[in-house]
Symmetry: C2
Subunit: 335 residues, 2 copies
DNA sequence: GATCATATCCAAAACGTTTTGGGGAAACGC
DNA sequence: GCGTTTCCCCAAAACGTTTTGGATATGATC
């Protein structure tokens, strides 16, 4: 393994000069720099990252604590996000470190350990909650972070999010314009900010249309929970003719519940979701949904993170991305 | 931040003694050890991992190169795998580093870089292929690795896999015993070992039953590709009455194709998959499939990896896990 | 009392890099 | 010829740990 030392002795130069030549400093003669670069390339020299990290006092690593079941991230989104993040960070020589933690007390312990160990220069918070202890913890520790999703705090923090509120206002407005009046909302657990924002979009559109916004049920973001919740709503006195679901997984369950109740989805009842997961295209009928451009979000996340580590809080600390509406048969808006 | 130096000077001891006390060496007096441990705990001392890594010459890190689209890992499996791996490795103070790479030339470049940079002590290979350049590359480089899935090589290597061959033999046998005769196979791309093994299971069961095993079509592991392939098969002269699909995503597409052809899935035609992804339970009808216990596989993977790093090739280099068959309506075996 | 084993501790080297604070020689200004 | 600047280079320190190879003191043995 070639080191600075071996290169230096081969070239009859000092370690300092070799190091500075490779880093492109101006105080080494152009000819020498050239010679050093040639030799380094020939020897396949790559600086020892551990040594550099020790000396520079930074870990060149970004950590992401991923929640495991239950409360897990939506799969296609999560994996795409990891891909983009990995690529973008690698381009700047940052490693992406993955930590796993079950939601709850254990999760905070993982963050604490990460902070103490200083194994990462920054971290990414996913599944941000409305009241999120992680934010204060990281701010206090002085560890830079970017949130995927928002939280309710007065403090300034960096985040990237999809505009769930606008998205749900839009879909609700469309459903209203199709003639629906009893439009229910199947919400995700309201400690998640995304759930609250999506709910708010629905609430606002309903009120703006002069409709009652009390047909709302909260459930976990799973097909089973969605099916159960939808079944309950459809058995109630105020049977809705439309179900605006917080996520596609809930919507898939809702479609099934509606069919079990003898309804033709897309004709007797409209169902919509959010995420545009693969499965939503292949249910029968296909599910109307909306989607975020994950690659943009991931790239934005990575850029903010790098900015934060290298130059402090970016000018645009928070970015909200629009959602693309995907009209399909489950709401009677396609086929 | 507490360091060995600060602890040592606070305690009036040498750095050596503090270090050795914390590591539990016998050559430090029990009373001193006690005193040191107390002080370290009080100061919240945690050793600087970068310094330790530099000194010990190991990175305490395991890398996983994840393929991005196309050819991506099945989502629920992948995320679960990451969770288990992260937990198991963290328990032994190993970090899990994630690298992203598009399949193809770029992928090998990522592996090369990882090897040269020595940022990881070992790595995990996923989506193992029948002829996999990565194996030879890593063996030559002397970087320990464990495969998720098998490859075709004479060399000894560590792997963990599901028994796709037995699983597909079993499902094919069941379908035969239901009275089907023209049983087609929708295979995944045959450069993946898993695809080859699943195919083989189907082939063997068909021949054992004295049936022709030429109704086979290969397609990507997506719903779209599955739909297209199934459509082609159903339009052919030798219309199959059963479709054994390599993956659930293919099966979901196949179900849709069958329905488009006017068939009632589960009655006129049997369809089966593999993976037991969430969506497979919520199609209409639900899809018969099989599943691997991902937590066991992940734990086994992590254990093998640690064994490899700390003690060399484990006794059982390769482990194959059985698949659990999940009978549902799409094959007429439930409801 | 000398010798030896044992128990306890420590100084210094090493891991490979980056950075500080010059140092020597050539070129330049007068 | 002398001082000053410019150009190129380098020795040494530093990052925080682990490990090597003793050193010192104490007690036991004869």
């Amino acid at each position: 393994m070639a080191t600075l030392r071996s290169l230096a002795s081969d070239l009859g130069l000092s370690i300092t000069t070799v190091s500075r030549a490779l880093d492109g400093y101006e105080d080494v003669a152009a000819a020498t720099r050239e010679r050093v670069n040639k030799a380094a390339a020939a020897a396949g020299y790559r600086p020892n990252s551990t040594a550099r990290r020790l000396r520079k006092g930074s870990s060149e690593t970004v950590a992401l604590v991923m929640p495991t079941e239950p409360g897990r991230f939506y799969e296609p989104v999560f994996v795409d996000l990891l891909s983009v993040l990995g690529e973008r960070l690698a381009a700047r020589h940052f490693d992406l470190m993955l930590l796993a933690a079950r939601p709850g007390a254990e999760e905070l312990a993982v963050y604490k350990r990460m902070i103490k160990d200083r194994r990462a220069d920054a971290c990414i918070i996913v599944r941000t909650r409305r009241h999120d202890e992680r934010i204060a913890m990281l701010q206090e520790a002085g560890l830079p972070f970017v949130c995927h999703g928002r939280t309710e705090t007065r403090a300034e923090y960096a985040y990237v999010d999809g505009d769930g509120e606008a998205g749900f206002r839009e879909v609700t407005n469309r459903i209203v314009s199709l003639g629906h009046r009893r439009i229910a909302h199947l919400a995700a657990p309201d400690h998640f900010t995304f759930a609250e924002l999506r709910s708010r979009g629905w609430h606002m559109a309903m009120r703006a249309a002069g409709l009652t916004d009390d047909l709302k049920l909260m459930c976990a973001s799973t097909e089973e929970a969605g099916e159960q919740a939808a079944t309950a709503l459809l058995a109630g006195p105020d049977k809705p003719t439309a179900l605006i679901c917080a996520t596609d997984r809930i919507a898939i369950g809702a479609v099934r519940a509606a069919q079990a109740a003898g309804l033709v989805v897309g004709r007797d009842i409209a169902v919509t979701g959010h995420d545009n997961i693969h499965a939503s295209r292949f249910t029968h009928p296909a599910i109307t949904t909306m989607e975020l451009d994950v690659r943009s979000v991931g790239a934005c996340l990575a850029d903010k993170l790098l900015h934060l580590v290298e130059r402090g809080m970016p000018e645009h600390a928070g970015d909200v991305f629009p959602l693309r509406q995907v009209l399909r048969a489950s709401s009677g808006e396609a086929n």
